[in-house]
């Protein structure tokens, strides 16, 4: 029996719970993009419904964190575990919301023939999914280097966002018929770009968790 082993167990549980949320969120990004690419409204609807599960879980873990603060008086590293836990949860929940945004937009696009193959958007989605996964990996292992590397990817995400934006503007200027769809696709690229930002926040939180330093990563 180590001193405070029950408290340690509770802290560990919070981290494991967060990983569960993260895996649901990763799945939700993936499915929302699958739904978009295959114009699958059933899958899009599944993403939207699945968000309630994420929200409920987030709520439960957040309450656990609050109770731990109130009852266990975490300090130093323990405090950072709880505080960053709450912040990472908020980022994950927002990411989940953006997957829902993508799924909703997918539903609007379902009946339309796509004006172009979604190569860059798909690539962007892959990048942000990797960022979320790497961010959580860094969280689990307390890996500061990995957190920094992961955040570097956000530059590429931002570049793609601007590139997609420019290209779609060209489409719209050429053919006003494409405006509706181009605007939807622009929104999707915006949602993905925001997911990248939230993933970056996760990375910053990992660094704070490990070092106690606030680092602005992107």
């Amino acid at each position: 029996m180590t001193v405070r082993s029950n408290f340690d167990k509770a802290l560990m549980e919070i981290q494991q719970d967060i990983l569960r949320v993260a895996s649901l969120v990763e799945e939700s990004i993936y499915n929302s993009m699958e739904a978009l690419n295959s114009q699958d409204v059933v899958l899009a609807a599944k993403v939207i419904e699945g968000d309630d599960v994420i929200d409920d879980l987030k709520e439960k873990i957040e309450n656990k964190c609050i109770t731990l603060i109130a009852t266990q008086q975490p300090i130093a590293k323990d405090l950072r575990v709880v505080i960053t836990g709450i912040k990472i949860l908020v980022s994950l929940e927002r990411i989940g919301d953006h997957s829902v945004d993508i799924a909703r937009t997918t539903m609007c696009l379902a009946e339309q023939k796509l004006i172009k193959p979604l190569v860059d958007l798909t690539h962007m989605a892959k990048l942000v999914q990797d960022m979320v996964r790497d961010g959580l990996d860094a969280y689990v292992h307390g890996d500061v280097e990995k957190a920094r590397e992961m955040c570097d990817n956000d530059d590429e995400v931002d570049d793609l966002y601007h590139k997609i934006f420019r290209e779609l503007t060209v489409y719209m200027k050429k053919d006003p018929e494409t405006i509706d769809q181009a605007v939807y696709l622009m929104f999707i690229s915006r949602f993905l770009e925001r997911i990248g930002d939230h993933a970056t926040n996760i990375g910053e939180n990992v660094i704070y968790l490990v070092t106690g330093e606030k680092e602005e990563l992107n």
């Binding site: 029996m1 180590t2 001193v3 082993s5 029950n6 408290f7 109130a70 009852t71 266990q72 008086q73």
Partner: protein, 252 residues
């Protein structure tokens, strides 16, 4: 759902003319840690002592109301107080080991209850010391004086001494107030372990300790039980303004 181990109904207690407990009703759940908090003189220790009739020893005490242990009223005239206190044991504020060896301290209770077989006593001593998370630290010095142990060890020895008579309920009256922070955390950790086997009620001046260690918290003030509920809830969203003021350090 866990059962009530102890049920207290409309308990009033008077020290001569002074009413120390006012119509207190409270259920103590089995295999849970219940913490009693409140400012000095609020009645929490008095309440604790009603649960194994320790107040009987004080002159001028009058108790009204009902306290049941597993459904049986412990204030019934035919109740044997000694066997009651065997079932409902107590640990005090200051560690009070007997001036004898570690072994004899733990074997004291079982010997009184008639166990003489050396092998059996050895087993009880080891099991109790393990139960109190003290075995590893004292197994090499079982026959040395208990007074040579540190304060934290002495308090765990007192807990081992209690466990040796196989109680069902442990009453703890500020068990760590004389201990350093690390010993305190060790005792707290032990309490969390012990609740799997025992029902525990702890009086503490240290609100943070109540928060850390208990499942249920009861707040006493001037002899009234102001609020009793889930510890997580009490420390995040107490229902009564007085509880909130006390736990946030606004008075007390």
């Amino acid at each position: 759902m866990t059962n009530s181990k102890i049920s207290v109904q409309n308990l009033n207690l008077y020290y001569k003319d002074f009413q120390a407990l006012k119509n207190v009703s409270l259920d103590v759940l089995e295999n849970r840690v219940t913490a009693l908090i409140g400012p000095s003189g609020c009645g929490k220790s008095t309440f604790l002592r009603t649960l194994n009739r320790m107040n009987d020893l004080i002159e001028g005490v009058r108790v009204e109301g009902k306290v049941t242990l597993d459904g049986v009223d412990i204030y019934r005239p035919d109740v044997d107080v000694v066997s009651l206190r065997k079932r409902v044991g107590m640990v005090f504020q200051k560690p009070n080991p007997f001036p004898m060896s570690v072994y004899d301290n733990v074997a004291y209770g079982p010997r009184i209850h008639g166990i003489k077989n050396k092998q059996q006593l050895d087993q009880i001593v080891e099991k109790s010391l393990r139960g109190a998370a003290l075995w590893d630290e004292v197994q090499d010095r079982l026959y040395k004086s208990a007074l040579g142990l540190s304060g934290g060890q002495q308090q765990r020895l007192c807990i081992a001494r209690l466990l040796a008579v196989e109680p069902e309920v442990l009453l703890m009256d500020e068990p760590t107030s004389a201990l350093d922070p690390v010993s305190t955390l060790k005792i707290e950790e032990l309490i969390r372990e012990l609740k799997n086997k025992y029902t525990i009620i702890i009086v503490t001046h240290n609100m943070q300790q109540a928060a850390r260690v208990s499942d249920t918290t009861a707040f006493f003030l001037n002899g009234d039980l102001v609020e009793c509920g889930d510890t997580g809830a009490i420390f995040t969203m107490p229902e009564d303004k007085r509880t909130e003021d006390y736990i946030t350090g606004r008075f007390g």
